[in-house]
Amino acid sequence: MRVGPVGFRIGSDWHAPIAALDALYRDYPRPEFADYSFRLEAVSPWRRRVRPSVRVAGDYWLPDASPLPLAQGLLAAEMGMNLQVALGHRRHLLLHAAVVARGDRAILMSGVSGAGKSTLALMLSHRGWRFLGDEFAMIDPDTGLAHPFPRPVSLKNESLSLIPEGCRTGPLLTGTPKGDVRHVAPPAAAIAAMDEPARPALVIFPRFGFPSALSGLAPTETFMRLTQASTNYVAMGEAGFQALTRLRAQVPAVALDYPDGEAGVAAVEALWEAL
């Protein structure tokens, strides 16, 4: 299947994870060519049936990764996709960030897992914003544009109650290493527009669960935060440096603390109005 500029070929020792993927990714194209291949495999032959346990094996993989139970096969597949892109993708500078856009101008919200970027992006996408992705911002080193990579949003634990009505969701996965997880397919319009890039206009480093606060960032701090948010900055070499310094120099960046989703959405929209 293809998401934005990246095609995946996913194989499995079992039928269930593939069926779950097929359902969740119903609206995505199924090209013949895939950039990356990976498989969800049993840790050993007998673990196909007895307490089946899934590991990711493919073009790129981590030796230290620990296996997941088969019931969490969908999560393993999502991780597999992240892994291929994080370790293999070189055509764009990757930033760990959620991206939403109005028209052809985009906001990058960069933060670690738990910073609330997925939730913010999902909420914004139901308020008229175009959803470009909640995992990686893909910055084209030649143009500086952000390319959509709109995978399903993975919501965790307390965010689960925020899933809007009428969304296509994956099964509720309980007891995963990240707690309870459910994947929510992005709006169909976001998938339909996944080949249309947008120009970054604002970079936000959000932090969820703190009293509302907004602060500007010194150039060095923005620069460092962006390098730390990038999974392939070093591997991209000079192109990575150029893309990142351009983004730093041309796009304003702020750190935003917010106590809850509503406040976060309001703050992001206020920042946008003030641009």
């Binding site: 010194a218 150039p219 060095t220 620069f223 460092m224 390098t227 900055y233 070093v234 070499g237 000079e238 440096f241 150029q242 310094t245 730093r248 120099a249």
Partner: protein, 92 residues
């Protein structure tokens, strides 16, 4: 004599992006990005045109900047070692 003479990596090997009090430098031969703080960028600038030994470098810096009262020899040596380890200066 103040030991070996040092020179900065050729300008063509560096991409320099001044940020604020720090300067980001991409070093092409290694592919490493360095964040430089004062006085590293100034040392590189002083060593860009001709190689200098440590004492000559100190004199050059004192021409352009107010270095304060203390004897800077040992500290300057530490800076040069640091820059040499990073590959941003080398000995002639």
């Amino acid at each position: 004599m103040a030991g070996p003479r040092y020179r900065a990596a050729a300008a063509a090997l560096l991409i320099v992006e001044p940020l604020d009090m720090f300067t980001a430098v991409f070093h092409r031969p290694s592919g490493v990005t360095h964040l430089l703080n004062e006085p590293a960028p100034q040392i590189l600038e002083a060593l860009a045109d001709e190689p200098l030994d440590r004492d000559a470098l100190l004199a050059r810096l004192a021409q352009n900047f107010d270095l304060g009262e203390a004897d800077g020899t040992a500290v300057l040596q530490a800076r040069l070692t640091e820059l040499e380890t990073a590959g941003l200066v080398d000995r002639v």
